[in-house]
């Protein structure tokens, strides 16, 4: 369908069979795309080769060269031995903290958002739309604006700087987008499904668990991808709310790179950076199409 639309641009020649000859226009198109692709790929390449070199080789300052003697020692050091100030544990504590933060936050935020979306689609009570509009507004509020009142609120209930505290914060700030996502999904379902369940005597929860939830697999996958990458990549909330006990990986990475004493271990720093990027990167490459769908779904707001 799209291919036909593209033919009409004039670049691809007349309608019908694909042009076999290579016109200058085509060469230009590919040249632009390849150069753009290089711009996007080079940083990852540089990170990777730097992380596989030893420091003497890094100091030769040929960032584009492949490692002469590839070594994974920087990766091992980054994960287990590198120092943050005086604390030489590598990134592994940060990694586990991020896991401890991400897993419950993703589960809780998705459960809440799916119920919100379901209620907003099928059980509109008076006032529901008001709260939903507040949430939509919340999707645009810069986090920094409301952080302070949340700090105060969290301290009042003694959750500031604790693991449950940061999980709650992630749930709060994930709620606007996820609720919009689930609401749009449930609203697109045929109302007959809901009516049939109601006629069979199913109530709010029964309809949700027995009918709606089994149908929500695709949107849940999108939500999981969005949330895992989003929470894993978070820096600001970790900085403010996690406390010293639960520093997430991104924050520890930054501290590690910034507080090096003596010679800076660029190879270890890059290995650490790659390690921190690994989880979202794997999710991105494995999920492919779904990731793009998540972005599109998040963008539907407009």
């Amino acid at each position: 369908m799209t291919a036909e639309a593209l033919d009409a641009t004039g670049f691809a020649g007349p309608h019908g069979a694909k042009p076999k000859q290579l016109s200058w226009g085509r060469v230009g198109i590919y040249a632009f795309l390849v150069i753009a692709a290089l711009f996007f790929l080079v940083p990852l390449y540089v990170m990777l080769v730097t992380s596989l070199k030893s420091m003497p080789e890094v100091r030769e300052a040929h960032i584009f060269n492949l490692p002469r003697e590839p070594t994974i020692q920087p990766w091992i050091d980054a994960m287990f031995n590198a120092c943050t100030g005086r604390n030489c544990t590598g990134l592994s504590p940060g990694f586990w903290n991020s896991v401890k933060i991400t897993v419950p936050s993703v589960i809780v935020s998705i459960i809440i958002a799916s119920i919100n979306g379901y209620a907003l689609s099928f059980w509109k009570y008076k006032g529901a739309e008001f709260f939903f509009n507040l949430l939509v507004f919340g999707a645009f509020v810069p986090y920094q604006v409301v952080i302070y009142p949340i700090i105060i609120g969290m301290s009042k209930v003694h959750l500031f700087g604790t693991l449950p505290g940061i999980i709650i914060v992630h749930t709060i700030f994930g709620m606007p987008l996820l609720t919009i996502l689930f609401r749009n999904f449930y609203s697109s379902l045929p109302i007959e499904i809901f009516k049939a369940a109601r006629i069979d005597g199913a109530g709010f929860w029964q309809t949700f668990f027995k009918v709606m939830l089994p149908m929500s697999v695709p949107i849940t996958v999108v939500a999981v991808i969005l949330q895992v990458t989003g929470i894993w990549n978070d820096f600001l909330f970790g900085l403010v709310f996690a406390g010293t006990e639960n520093i997430p990986m991104t924050l520890q990475l930054n501290n590690m790179v910034k507080t090096t004493q003596g010679t800076i271990q660029y190879d270890v720093n890059m290995a650490a950076t790659m390690l921190t990027a690994l989880v979202p990167l794997i999710i991105y490459f494995v999920s492919g199409k779904w990731f793009v769908r998540g972005i599109a779904a998040g963008a539907v707001k407009g």
Partner: protein, 310 residues
């Protein structure tokens, strides 16, 4: 209107269609009710109220009028931060939109391996801004990075180390931001391009309109939806700018790349001057409020115009 809406939950609705109140639904959405009301309504009101007080380490209610705002706008750190966000914002927005659109247009030329290109253009978006910042900091390292590598290849007076100079550090941030975010713009724009009716292209071709003019004057106006989405995403992202700067330059050299969002965080976590922090936070909210109001006006006008045309 808001009061009516909130109390209406408890009060029986004046039944047009007599219906029971779905208590289960209210219980199920209790987290939404609590969060939306307390965080995105009450908390914001408190932020604005505290911005008119002389709260120091702890929030208080000793009102001092606009004193925090006059102090804010006479502080050079804030002035620098505001100038920076304007510069960074306008630069990022323009480059991001143009580059993202060009990528989308070129991707839309029936090219081979489209999904490979798409994967490459989008992967940086999956990575955190901290990772982005640190990666680019390393590439732009003045001693061992790109500059030195190219000098070692023989071009001995090559100079590209923006992060160490006050005047140029912000360009480094822009490049890193573009690298991380323009793939998304491309993806949304591409969807917008593909939503344009093929007949439009045929008609333009018959009329002999050059391709570039068709894009500029016919296609772009037709993909307003995609453009609006990109603009909204970008603008909200720009106002929030924090992680990238924190990781890449820490606001330096000196205060050359400080940002308003960093000012807010610094005043509530390190400097412990709540009133000042809240005044800055209120200023941060202002552009978003403006954007949302403009957006609301545009949609109402559009809806009305559509109504007339119909």
């Amino acid at each position: 209107m808001t009061d009516v809406a909130t109390t209406a939950i408890a009060v029986e609705a004046p039944a047009r269609r007599k219906r029971r109140i779905p208590y289960a639904a209210i219980i199920g959405t209790l987290p939404m009710i609590i969060v939306s009301f307390s965080v995105f309504f009450v908390a914001i009101i408190f932020v604005v109220i505290w911005s008119f007080t002389n709260s120091g380490m702890f929030p208080g209610f000793n009102f001092v009028g606009l004193a925090q705002y006059t102090r804010l706008w006479s502080t050079s750190l804030w002035q620098v931060a505001v100038n920076n966000i304007w510069f960074f914002g306008v630069m990022s927005l323009c480059v991001n939109l143009v580059f993202g659109f060009l990528l989308a247009v070129f991707m839309d030329q029936n090219i081979k391996h489209e999904s490979v290109f798409r994967t490459i253009f989008l992967y940086p978006f999956s990575m955190s801004l901290v990772v982005t910042g640190l990666a680019w900091q390393w590439i732009l390292d003045p001693n061992l990075g790109l500059q030195e590598s190219i000098r070692n290849l023989g071009w001995t007076d090559f100079a590209l180390a923006p992060l160490v100079h006050r005047e140029t550090a912000i360009y480094g941030l822009v490049v890193a931001g573009i690298w991380q975010g323009s793939g998304v713009t491309m993806a949304i724009m591409l969807a917008g391009l593909r939503g344009v009716d093929q007949e439009v292209w045929k008609a333009a071709k018959i009329d002999g309109i050059p391709t570039w003019r068709t894009y500029l004057f016919i296609v772009i106006p037709m993909m307003r939806g995609a453009l609006g989405t990109v603009l909204l995403l970008q603008l909200t992202g720009i106002v929030r700018t924090f992680d990238l700067v924190y990781a890449m330059t820490s606001g330096g050299p000196g205060i050359a790349t400080q940002m308003p969002a960093m000012y807010v965080i610094s005043f509530i976590t390190v400097r412990l001057n709540v009133g000042q922090g809240m005044a800055a936070a209120t200023m941060l909210l202002l552009p978003i409020a403006l954007i949302l109001i403009i957006r609301a006006i545009v949609t109402t006008v559009q809806a009305r115009r559509r109504g007339i045309n119909a």
